[in-house]
Amino acid sequence: MGLMQLFKFKGGVKPATNKAQSVTLPIAKAPLPSVVAVPLHQSIGGTPRPLVQVGDKVLKGQMIGEADGWISAAVHAPTSGTVREVGMYAAAHPSGLLTDCVVIEPDGEDRWIERQSVDYKTLTPEQVRELLRDMGVVGLGGAVFPSHAKTQASRSVPMEELVINGAECEPYITCDDLLMRERAAEVVKGIAIFRDLLQPKKVLIGIEDNKPEAAAAMAQAVQAAGEDFQVVSVPTLYPAGGAKQLIRVLTGKEVPANKRSTDMGVQCFNVATAYTAWRALGHGEPVISRLVTLTGNVAEPRNYEVLIGTPMDELLAIAGPKADTDGIIMGGPMMGFLVPEAKAPVVKATNCLIAHSPALFPPKAPEMPCIRCGSCAQVCPHELQPFEMYWFARAKNFGKTQEYNIFDCIECGCCSFVCPSRIPLVQYFRFAKSEIWARERDKKAADGAKTRFEFKQLRDEREKQEKAEKLAKAAAAQAAKKAAEAAAAAAAEGGAPAEAAAAPAAQSPEEAAAAAKKAAIAAAMERAKAQRAQAQPQNTDDLAPAQQQEVADIEARRARLRDIAKTELAHPEAHPAEAAPAAPADDGQTPKN
């Protein structure tokens, strides 16, 4: 533990830590649950695509959800068994809604897939990142951001410091403390992976000074590994474990709201993330379990290694919740939430389950009016003005809350903690944030709908125009074709109209069409004449006089009928139905619509 200058972040509070209860016993392995429900979406970014179907047999560590895109991380079967369901299941979420899960019934054998340790130093950084993604390594401090996506230094700014977060500032939670005490060597190996990927000038491991055992264990492991990491004790002050706060304390750098920490030459990982990164590369074990602190209103508070997907009620039962337990808090008392559905599964973000009881967490007295004392602004670690944001969030004036930088709020709960009027400030900020997000979604959808509507109108108009043009063209083309046919037919007949039909082809379209029509009529008449000539009976030679007489009679009758037809054609309005078929030459010439 070197002597180095530490910096301060503004604000912060000192709530009762309540950590001593759960550090007395070593980490234990939680027994195999009766069922595991693995949510597919356990990290920031894309929802992994399920790779298994109902009835499939899976092995422990088998990938069941494939990363969707670069900002996403795979999920794996926590134990061997049969897939019971791929569908909606209770989520570890304050809403109590369902989410896509793979529900596995364990077979009790807990049989691993073939695990392969890799020497990551022989791989390219790209391959290591892909491997981390496919092993499901995400930030276990609570944000569950895919870790591989954080292992790329900024192009313009050289990496100065790699900050490893072992602060664990939230009350009750001790899983990182126990991890560092018992598995420091592997945490150090994990840190080395991130160090090799990012190539920083120095590595700083920040641990709050209320965890001297963990700090000592880490320092010893660093020394044993021959690394030059610095283990730094930071003052115990909530929220020192916030990434931006710890970076500030250790490096003095303040990361602006619109920038990434790599733009400042810093990157930050949680100790548990480093541990899982080493298990993934060094042992071929994907992230299928994590340490969870079971504490609060229980008989035996302790840290357990828990399979992801273990139902929370089943898990909490191991610690022996007392009779007056009336709920489960996931996370700590400052930032956690009451789980609405007790059978919701443990996820990668679950660091602590606190058995809730009215005695342990007495209900808050009713909210009083804000007296604008400014206490909240004094403790805000992001130097915001919570009383102003509260005012506008309460009035649903969301534009103003954004002017006061509500999206810089990390919802640490310091303001609610100190408020003398007991105003649930963070709830108001969460409400405002989710309303703003919903509005942005709606706005985006409306803009998209508008664009598509306008495009559809444009397209309809264009199609109408194109259709009209096409019809005109088709009519002209057909007319020209008919004209050519007529010319050919006429030529075959040796008749004169051939020239008449062929000549006007080069004229203007209307004239051409009219001429073609005329030619077609002429051709049709020619054809009809030819047909009539062909239709002459072939057996008219050598007829008896009686037969000749008969033929003459028939011819005379036909001639008479033809005459009648002609007179009727001259007055077609008298019998329009009969007259219509008399002009077949026009058929197929005029467009139907």
Binding site: A91, L97, E367, K433, A445, A449, F453, F455
Partner: protein, 180 residues
């Protein structure tokens, strides 16, 4: 006297030229009020207001031809925003406000007639003649315009269910307690 007239005339010419230049240079295309009104409308393009789309309705409001409470998808909140923008009195909505919904095609019943595709104002239905049609849920505005043309009545409207991603934190309830 003449000099005074000349100076005034010169001033008039100069100012006139400046105004003329400004009117050309800083010409505003379109009616900015229409755009502002349209930004408030929900863009469902459903025609429930009696106008063929949100833009015509916005234009009618801007001209003062239409009332501001004719848009049921915008709801009471939309009426309130329009009232704020136009400095008019907010009115109760003329119509029934429905929860957000999307259309759903019963794919077993669909005969592939393409009538709904032609009716959809936002191109949210995919399909081809004699092929099954389906609705792209994320693009559907729930305008119900595809319901009447369907000859086999295979389209139903389903309310949009809340998911973990669209869930919103509730407004912290202020408990009122009887004091005496």
């Amino acid at each position: 006297m003449l000099i005074a007239i000349a100076i005034m005339a010169l001033g008039a010419v100069v100012l006139g030229a400046a105004l003329g230049f400004a009117s050309v240079k800083f010409k505003v295309d379109g009616d900015p009020l229409v755009d502002k009104i349209e930004a408030i409308l929900p863009q469902t393009q459903c025609g429930q207001c009696g106008y063929p789309g949100c833009k015509p309705y916005a234009e009618a409001i801007a001209k003062g031809e239409a009332d501001i409470n004719l848009c049921p998808p915008g709801g009471a909140e939309g009426v309130g925003k329009l009232a704020d923008l136009l400095g008019r009195e907010a009115k109760p909505l003329d119509g029934v406000e429905k929860p957000p919904q999307v259309a759903l095609i019963d794919e077993n019943t669909c005969i592939g007639c393409t009538l709904c595709i032609q009716a959809c104002p936002v191109d949210a239905i995919v399909g081809a003649a004699k092929q099954m049609h389906t609705i792209v849920e994320s693009l559907c505005t729930g305008c119900e315009l595809c319901l009447p043309p369907c000859p086999v009545e295979c389209i139903t409207m389903e309310p949009i269910q809340e998911t973990v991603d669209t869930w919103k934190w509730k407004y912290p309830v202020v408990e009122l307690k009887r004091v005496a």
